[in-house]
Each structure stands twice: as structure tokens, then as C-alpha cells.
């Protein structure tokens, strides 16, 4: 039993302002807008991902509210069918491709290098390119919606409806090319994360000491690598079938093509996709549960193995989205079994989390002391210490509320997933609001709740200030109730025959009341999101200054100041266990001898993380942005003409030549920054409360 040392751990941070300044200048981006565009720092890129993705969440959420208004009463004339179809498609596509996947990726890019104890990701310029490609995809889809060219065939764009015959115009092309751009970005991010984790861990961080968060990101990245090609092929075939002058027949039954081929290709990606979203979120949950229970997580090995098992089984489920299609029965039954099997690793995770909470000393004591303080009429003190302040002893800390919400809601969604896995039941509820309810329970419960928890948990890391904790609890409860009011009724609606993707319904169906309820719930969710935004904007400037390690967390990111300096660690740390900050970090050896002239990081061996060699990272560069612009324009051109591919390939090659040539001449940007006024000194260690 011991007490966590106060951090940031001085031994790995800059000893004085001058040394901080010199290293900071090496790793910082150049000042000004151009410098901002050229940045390759993982913290810049990660935050950009998070902010952009959250903006898309807001936008797609607004579309959801529009849909809910249209559906609130029977035969509403708020949105016509043409607009409604664009809106639900863009809502779904944005939420999946422009919000859920990128936001997880952004958090990975921000935290993986910090948690493994290094200074940047392995391919910094590629990282910047990935972000810009993602933005290009987002602009394409939303530019389409705003110019009445919004995709309108659903987020999985089944052929033949999305084919050349039934969807003339360019709406579907916009969708297909958005897919290509965002998948490029996801693939780049995955390569990034895996390589960084394999090669750049702090000495001593063998694989069995890797934080579960990092494991989750690695597993999700591997899933990206094997799943995303499938959707790129599906959308590529679709684009080729649609393009005049190309006119292939992949999905045209008259010429030997097949509509079901598209479904196989899409869902071979589409099912892993949902775990690509969910698995990183379980990483947040494990992190927060470990921190707040004050013990090493129960069943580390079991948790890691369940992540890996989920990933493997996740590739064998795709046909459960096609149970209603004319496929042979025998083949389909296999997918029922595998869909049920995946409940086992998910259950293992659930049970380990509950066991950790159960046996964690910190939480129970915090709750106990808060309760006893109340009992002894010491309300004033207990209040003073608890809400509104960042004190981790305040009953149940705000991030943990979101985790508890997650367990409830995700479990519900997972269990309805088991219902969907049964063929007889699925053919009843397939393509009804029951499915809509299922996937909002697992997506919002399984990804959005953990994400909000993560925002409350890591906001101090990003900004140095706490989010307001009691406003946070309002945020939580409105979200929790709003969510259940909005989505629980949809289960009943589905069973009572309400199919999805309908822009209106007649009154005799009797679906009106529950739909109105759902709309009210969605409104409450909207209020909750507004509360969150208010909290962010107020706390960013005026929130309570965060302590160095406000939650007494075990992982390395809390060993350095918040927000972290450009170089992260002045001396790279070493570790001797999976919980660096709980294991007397002061006594750990530190790494010395890395260059102070070049952006150099330490590479370690894959299994045991023994120091292996030094590795120079590229400096900032404008070429990633230019390449993304070229690729974005190519995909826009490809909407109209197949010549975009050779043309774009040629233009990209020119940019890549320049990238290659320039990137090896170091310092040109750093020298530009030379004349600038010195950045502020090392942030002072905040005074303890």
C-alpha cells in the first residue's frame, strides 16, 4: 500500500526553463498559420481529429433532430422524401465514417505516443496527410448535401438502388468517393498506431505491460487493416459500375454480376467496423475503471485476450446483416453461432470491469467517506469537497458516471444483438426500428458514453483545466434519460411493424405516440450536448486549474505537464510494470543521449522493449496538406470522369517526389521559427489544493 507521488514526475521533465526551451523549439511547429498547416505533432493532429469529428457529430446530430421532427407525428410535411433520404443517409454515413471512427483514431493519435512514452508517432507527415484526407472526405459529403447532391441511398448504399440505373446523377458518387478518402485516412492512422506501439515503447514496457488502452487501439488498428480494403473495393466497384465510359458490370445480374456480392463485400467490412468503433471505447472504459478503483485492473490477460478474440470473431459475423436475403439456410446458421459466441469475450470484459469496481479500494472509500460526512451533518464540508471541484474523492467522479451509463446501455444493446443473431427473430425485426434501437444502444452506449467519459477524464490533459464536474453530472443525467426516452420506444415500434428509412407513416398504424416520445428524448439529448459544449467553452478559459495527475491515474501521460510540451518527455521514461505512476516513477532510470538537434526518438525491441536504435523523425512539412488536396481533388474529379485516376496518380506522384526530396532537408522550418520570441517557460507545477 502506498500513496502516489505527486507528479509530474520531475525526473523526466525539463530540469529548467532553458533546457525546456531548446527542446521545445526543436519539436514545436513554426508559428503562424502556415506553421499550423505544416504541423506534424501528434498532439496537434490528434486534437484536430477530435475537434473535427465532434463537429461532425454535432452536424449529424442536427440532422437526426430534423428526422425526429419529421417523424414526431404521422404524415408530417416537414421534410419531403427526397430530403429525408439524403438526411438519414448523411446522418448515418457521417456518424460512422466522419465521427465514430475518426474520433477514436484522434484519441489514439493523441494518447498512444504519450502512453508508450515517446515523442511523436512513427510517420508524422503521413499522420498529417491522414487528417487532411479525412477532412477532404467530410467536405465532399457535406458539400454534396448542401448542394442537393447528398447521398440518398442509406449508409450502406445497396445496389441496384445505388447503381447507375436507379440513381442517376452524382449523389452516390459523392458517397463512394467520401468512403475512399476516409478509409485512406483510417488506414494511415492504423499503420501509424501499430508501428508506434511496436517500435517506440519506453524501455521496459514489454507487451504484457502495455496499458489496455493501447492494446485496444492496436487491436482496432489491425481490424482496420483487414476490414477497410473490403469497403474500398465495394465502393470502388460501385463507382466503376456507375461511371460512364467505364460501365463495368460487377453488380449487374444481366451480365453475370450480383447484387449480393456487394452486400458481402460491404458487410465484410461493415461488421468489423462496429468493433473498430467499440474496441477503442472499451480501452477508455478500462482506463477509467482502473484509475477510479485504485487497483490494477482485474484480469489484465483475460481482457487483452478478449479484445483479440473479439477482433478475430468479428470477421466471421458479416452474414448476420443478410439473414433476410435468399441465402442457403445452413450457411446462415454458422453466423448465428458466431454472433452468439462474440458475447463471450464481451461478457468477459464486462465481468472483469465489475470485479475491478467491486474490489477497488479507492472508489468505495470515497463513497463511504462522502456518505459518512453527510451522516455526521458535516454537509458543508462534504459539499465543499465534492461537487464542482475536481476532487477525486467526490462520491462517484463524473467520468465514472459515463462509464456506469455505458455498462447499462451497452449491455442492453448487446443483449438485443443476441436477439438479432437468431435467424427467426431477425427476419422479423430486420430493417425495423428494433435494429435502429439496437445499434444506437451499442453505438451511443458503447462509444459515445465512453467518449464523453474520456472527455471529462482527459480534458485536463488537453487544456490544463478541469471541466466543471457538477455540470458534467447534469450532462450525464440528461444524456442518460434523453437517450433512453429516445431509443427505448424504438424497440417496441420495431416489433409493431415500423420499418426503418421511412419518411412518414399513416396515423392508423398507431406509431405516433411512441415516435413523439422518441422525438422528445432526442431533444433532451440535444440539451445535454449543449450543456457539454457550454462546459467546454467555459472551462477552457475559466475552469479550475488541474492538478498534474488529477485522478491519481497510473499511466504515463500524467507524468508530464498539462498540456504536454511539444516534445512530450524531456527525458524518455522507462518502466518496470504496467502502471508507471503507481510504481515509484521517481526511482526509474531515465533515457539520456538522444539528439537535441534532430527530432530523434528511441526505438525498442518489439516484445521486450529493450533499447535498440535511434530513429530520426521527419520535420514539419506542407506536402501532406498538398497531397491531401491533390487526392481530394482527384476523388472529386473521379465523380465525373475515370481519367481522374491516371491524372490524379500523376499529380500525386509529383507531390510525393517533392515530399521525398524536401523532407530529407531538416530544419528549414525550425530555422524559420528561430527569430520568434521565446515561448513561455515550463508550466509551473500547479499548487496543490
Amino acid at each position: 500500500m502506498n500513496v502516489v507521488a505527486r507528479t509530474p514526475v520531475p525526473s523526466i521533465n525539463a530540469p529548467d526553463a532553458a533546457s525546456h526551451h531548446s527542446l521545445d523549439r526543436l519539436w514545436s511547429r513554426a508559428p503562424g498559420f502556415i506553421g499550423w498547416l505544416c504541423s506534424t505533432n501528434h498532439k496537434d493532429i490528434g486534437l484536430r481529429y477530435i475537434v473535427t469529428a465532434f463537429t461532425f457529430f454535432g452536424l449529424a446530430g442536427i440532422l437526426a433532430l430534423l428526422m425526429r421532427i419529421q417523424l414526431a407525428f404521422p404524415e408530417m410535411h416537414f421534410l419531403g422524401p427526397d430530403l429525408y433520404n439524403q438526411i438519414f443517409t448523411v446522418h448515418g454515413s457521417t456518424m460512422m465514417f466522419l465521427f465514430a471512427v475518426p474520433v477514436m483514431e484522434g484519441i489514439a493519435i493523441y494518447f498512444v505516443p504519450l502512453m508508450v512514452g515517446t515523442r511523436n508517432v512513427a510517420f508524422p507527415r503521413l499522420n498529417a496527410f491522414g487528417y487532411f484526407a479525412y477532412v477532404a472526405g467530410g467536405l465532399l459529403l457535406w458539400g454534396g448535401l448542401l448542394t442537393n447532391t447528398g447521398a440518398d441511398v442509406g449508409w450502406f448504399a445497396y445496389v441496384p438502388l445505388s447503381g447507375p440505373q436507379f440513381s442517376p446523377g452524382h449523389r452516390v458518387d459523392v458517397w463512394a468517393d467520401m468512403i475512399t478518402l476516409t478509409e485512406i485516412s483510417a488506414l494511415v492512422g492504423a499503420v501509424q498506431v501499430i508501428t508506434t506501439v511496436f517500435k517506440q515503447r519506453a524501455p521496459g514496457m514489454s507487451l504484457n505491460r502495455l496499458p489496455i488502452f493501447v492494446w485496444a487501439q492496436v487491436v482496432a488498428s489491425f481490424m482496420v487493416i483487414f476490414a477497410m480494403p473490403s469497403v474500398m473495393i465495394a465502393s470502388g466497384f460501385l463507382a466503376m459500375d456507375r461511371l460512364t465510359h467505364v460501365n463495368t458490370h460487377f453488380f449487374n445480374p444481366a451480365e453475370g454480376g450480383d447484387a449480393l456480392l456487394y452486400q458481402h463485400l460491404f458487410w465484410f467490412f461493415g461488421h468489423p467496423e462496429v468493433y473498430i468503433i467499440f474496441i477503442p471505447a472499451t480501452g477508455f472504459v478500462s482506463t477509467m475503471i482502473e484509475t477510479f478503483s485504485g487497483r490494477r485492473i482485474f484480469g489484465y490477460t483475460a481482457l487483452v485476450l478478449s479484445l483479440i478474440a473479439t477482433a478475430f470473431i468479428g470477421f466471421g459475423l458479416w452474414v448476420h446483416h443478410m439473414f433476410a436475403t435468399p441465402l442457403p439456410n445452413l450457411g446462415r446458421s454458422f453466423f448465428t453461432a458466431s454472433s452468439m459466441m462474440i458475447a463471450i469475450p464481451n461478457g468477459v470484459q464486462m465481468f472483469c470491469w465489475i470485479a475491478t469496481l467491486w474490489s477497488g479500494p479507492r472508489l468505495r472509500r470515497a463513497v463511504a467517506s462522502a456518505v459518512s460526512a453527510d451522516k455526521t451533518q458535516d454537509r458543508a464540508t462534504s459539499r465543499a469537497r465534492a461537487p464542482g471541484t475536481a476532487h477525486p474523492t467526490a462520491r462517484i467522479p463524473t467520468p465514472l458516471w459515463f462509464v456506469l451509463g455505458f455498462v447499462f446501455i451497452f449491455m442492453m444493446g448487446g443483449l438485443t444483438g443476441i436477439i438479432l443473431a437468431s435467424i427467426p427473430l431477425d427476419i422479423q425485426v430486420h430493417d425495423t426500428y428494433f435494429v435502429v434501437a439496437h445499434f444506437h444502444y451499442v453505438l451511443i452506449g458503447g462509444a459515445v458514453f465512453p467518449l464523453f467519459g474520456a472527455f471529462y477524464y482527459w480534458f485536463p490533459k488537453w487544456t490544463g483545466r478541469m471541466l466543471n464536474q457538477s455540470l458534467g453530472r447534469w450532462n450525464f443525467w440528461t444524456l442518460f434519460f434523453g437517450f433512453n426516452i429516445a431509443f427505448f420506444p424504438m424497440h417496441i415500434l420495431g416489433l409493431k411493424g415500423m420499418t426503418r428509412r421511412i419518411y412518414t407513416y399513416v396515423a392508423e398504424t398507431g406509431w405516433g405516440n411512441l415516435n413523439l416520445l422518441a422525438t422528445i428524448g432526442a431533444g433532451i439529448i440535444g440539451i445535454s450536448i449543449l450543456l457539454f459544449l457550454v462546459n467546454v467553452f467555459v472551462s477552457r478559459k475559466r475552469g479550475e486549474i488541474a492538478q498534474a495527475n488529477p485522478w491519481f491515474a497510473p499511466s504515463l501521460e500524467w507524468a508530464i505537464p498539462s498540456p504536454p510540451p511539444a516534445y512530450n518527455y524531456y527525458f524518455l521514461p522507462s518502466v518496470r510494470g504496467g502502471h508507471a505512476l503507481w510504481e515509484n516513477p521517481e526511482e526509474q532510470p531515465i533515457v539520456v543521449g538522444l539528439s537535441t538537434e534532430k527530432r530523434e526518438v528511441l526505438n525498442t525491441t518489439i516484445m521486450d522493449a529493450q533499447p535498440e536504435h535511434r530513429y530520426e523523425l521527419a520535420v514539419d512539412s506542407i506536402w501532406p496538406l498538398l497531397l491531401a488536396i491533390v487526392v481530394g481533388l482527384t476523388m472529386t474529379w473521379f465523380i465525373f470522369s475515370p481519367w481522374a485516376i491516371p491524372g490524379g496518380a500523376f499529380a500525386s506522384m509529383l507531390v510525393l517526389f517533392a515530399w521525398f526530396w524536401r523532407g530529407t532537408e531538416p530544419k528549414h522550418l525550425i530555422e524559420a521559427a528561430e527569430g520568434e520570441p521565446a515561448p513561455e517557460d515550463v508550466p509551473e507545477e500547479p499548487a496543490t489544493a
Binding site: V3, P81, D431, N513
Partner: protein, 341 residues
């Protein structure tokens, strides 16, 4: 169970004629039974796990509080071991439950397929061909005696109670999905993959079906009325539906001429006349159908007039063009159509 769901429906004012939980067919009934097994087992799991989560969060003071807020502590090995036992127990229990669910699922599926096999040999079985169009259902009744004389109707399906019905399903354009929840689960109509499904109605009544796969602008208005008739009613309906439209009386002749001299006849069929096109629904007995435009509007004179004048108002995107007719022509046409019982 069914009572449970009925009450819920009453409270919520949801009609039971398009519900997966009020089965009126053999297949639907097996599925509903399976549903309630799943429902209760999974609810029990949910409640159990929730209770444990709640207990885990309860305050319990053990060990010194003074250790400070940042205290970390590994539970002693014996406690950890018993915890592990509980967790492993829970995992094993989950596996057992999953096997039970898989088993029940398997048998429910088997019993449904067994019905198919059994019905295939049934000489009494009725075959109906369903074709999905953007955005309406074409329904063709096979005529065993005279195969060339199919009886064709649209957006309305009558079946006799107790007699197995084989539906052969296909699509003429995009994917649609045939779904009458009270009877059976849904089946997708994928172009290039004709398929079939069996169902047997067990109680008489009128039910609703709906296209379940997104098929474009008017996917919302691609509904179907499903009538389970007693065998006698069914025979009567078949009789009357198989007749040609009678030659119009003098007063109605004008309406027929309007029909034939405008674009109507380029898309529709009225048996017994020259209108033989199959782009749109067969209108030989349109007056006998309760709804128009695949369930979009009730079949009344007013709605019918509005529909003919400008279908795009009612069902934007529908393949039927507007018809600007002088009002007396329109009235004559309506008279004629209303006579097609």
C-alpha cells in the same frame, strides 16, 4: 405472453394488425414463442448483471480511509482468487446460457423449415407470385387448371385460413422486402435471386404488410393489405376477382373512353378491354380495394380524383405522371373506375 403484448398495444394505442407479437400464422407463432424465451432469458441476464454492478458501487468501509485519496492497493491474494472464481463462474454460466439460446433457436428454425418441406408435398397448397416494383406490389394467383389464366391484382393479398401458401418472390427493379409481421418474418426480393417463402394463416383477419428494404423515394408508401379469409370467403373473392371487367353501360362508356384515349392505358390493365399494359397495377377490380397507391391513401372518390390529377402531390416520385383532364372527363373516368368492383 400474447396478452402482455396486447395490453401494451392497447395502452400505447398501437394497432395489432402489423405486429410481430400477435401472430396469425403458423410460422409467425413459432417465432413469437421463440421471442418470449429470448426476451425473458436476456432480461434476467440484464437484471442480474445490473444488480452486481450496483452492489459493486455500494459504500463499504474496509481498511484505513486515512490512506488518502490517491491510495492504491491490490486486494489480497485470497480475495483475488475468490473474485476470479466468481468471474469464471459467470463466464461459464454465460456460455451455458448461450448454448441454450442457440439450441432453442436451432429448433425454432428447424420447425419452420420442416413446415416448408411438409407443405411442399401438399397438393392443396396455393401458389402466389409476388413481384416488387418501385413502389407497389404485383400479386399473381397461379391457376392450376389453366396456367395461362393467372389472376392479377395489386397491393392486396387474400389467402385462405389453414391452407399453406407458397409465395414466389421476385423484384422487377431494386431490392424490396416482403413482410407481413403477423404471418412470418421478411424475405428480400433481390433482382437476379428469385426466392420463395411459405406461410399458413391460422386466424381470419385483415393485416398489414410493408416493404422493409429501402427502395428509394417512396419506400415509405409501399404497403400491402393482407387478408386472411375463411375458405368460403376466399373462394368467393377469387371468383369475383377472376372475372373480366363487364362491358360498361351507356353511362359509364364515356369514362372507359377517357381511360382508353388518355395515357392511362399505356401503363395499366383492365381485363376485358384493350388496356393490357403492365407498367402499373392491374385495375380490373380497383373499386374492390380499400386503399390506393400501395396504402398511401384510402380508396374514396375524392382521393382517387386527386391521385389521377396529380399523383406526385400524394406520393412524390411515383412513376405515374399527372393527368390534366377536363372536369367532366375526370368525373366520367371516376364513375367508370368506381364501377370496377
Amino acid at each position: 405472453m400474447i396478452l402482455f403484448s396486447r395490453t401494451a398495444s392497447l395502452v400505447l394505442a398501437i394497432s395489432d394488425i402489423q405486429s410481430a407479437l400477435s401472430p396469425a400464422g403458423e410460422q409467425g407463432a413459432s417465432i413469437t414463442r421463440l421471442w418470449w424465451i429470448y426476451f425473458w432469458v436476456l432480461t434476467a441476464i440484464f437484471i442480474l448483471v445490473a444488480i452486481f454492478l450496483f452492489l459493486a458501487m455500494l459504500p463499504r468501509r474496509k481498511g484505513p480511509v486515512e490512506a488518502g485519496p490517491g491510495a492504491i492497493e491490490q486486494p489480497p491474494a485470497p480475495q483475488e482468487r475468490s473474485l476470479a472464481k466468481v468471474v469464471i463462474g459467470a463466464v461459464i454460466a454465460s456460455i451455458v446460457v448461450l448454448f441454450v439460446l442457440l439450441f432453442v433457436d436451432f429448433f425454432a428454425g428447424r420447425s419452420i423449415y420442416a413446415l416448408n418441406d411438409q407443405n411442399t408435398g401438399d397438393a392443396n397448397a396455393l401458389t402466389i407470385k409476388i413481384t416488387g416494383h418501385q413502389w407497389w406490389w404485383q400479386v399473381d394467383y397461379e391457376n392450376k387448371a389453366e396456367p395461362s389464366k393467372m389472376m392479377t391484382t395489386a397491393n392486396e393479398l387474400h389467402v385462405p385460413v389453414g391452407r399453406p401458401v407458397k409465395l414466389t418472390l421476385q423484384s422487377s427493379d431494386v431490392i424490396h422486402s416482403f413482410w407481413v409481421p403477423n404471418m412470418h418474418g421478411k424475405k428480400d426480393l433481390v433482382p437476379g435471386h428469385p426466392t420463395e417463402m411459405w406461410l399458413t394463416a391460422t386466424r381470419a383477419g385483415t393485416f398489414r404488410g410493408q416493404c422493409a428494404e429501402f427502395c428509394g423515394l417512396q419506400h415509405a408508401h409501399m404497403r400491402l393489405i393482407f387478408v386472411a379469409d375463411t375458405p368460403e370467403q376466399f373462394e368467393k373473392w377469387m371468383q369475383s376477382s377472376s372475372t373480366d371487367a363487364p362491358p360498361p353501360t351507356d353511362t359509364l362508356a364515356r369514362g372507359r373512353d377517357v381511360f382508353m384515349s388518355n395515357q392511362c392505358m399505356m401503363c395499366h390493365t383492365i381485363n376485358g378491354t384493350n388496356a393490357r399494359a403492365t407498367v402499373g397495377p392491374d385495375l380490373t377490380h380497383i373499386a374492390s380495394r380499400p386503399m390506393l397507391a400501395a396504402g398511401a391513401i384510402p380508396n374514396t372518390r375524392g382521393y382517387l380524383a386527386g391521385w389521377i390529377a396529380n399523383p406526385q402531390n400524394i406520393k412524390p416520385g411515383v412513376r405515374m405522371p399527372p393527368n390534366t383532364l377536363p372536369s367532366d372527363d375526370l368525373n366520367a373516368l371516376l364513375d367508370y373506375l368506381e364501377s370496377l368492383k
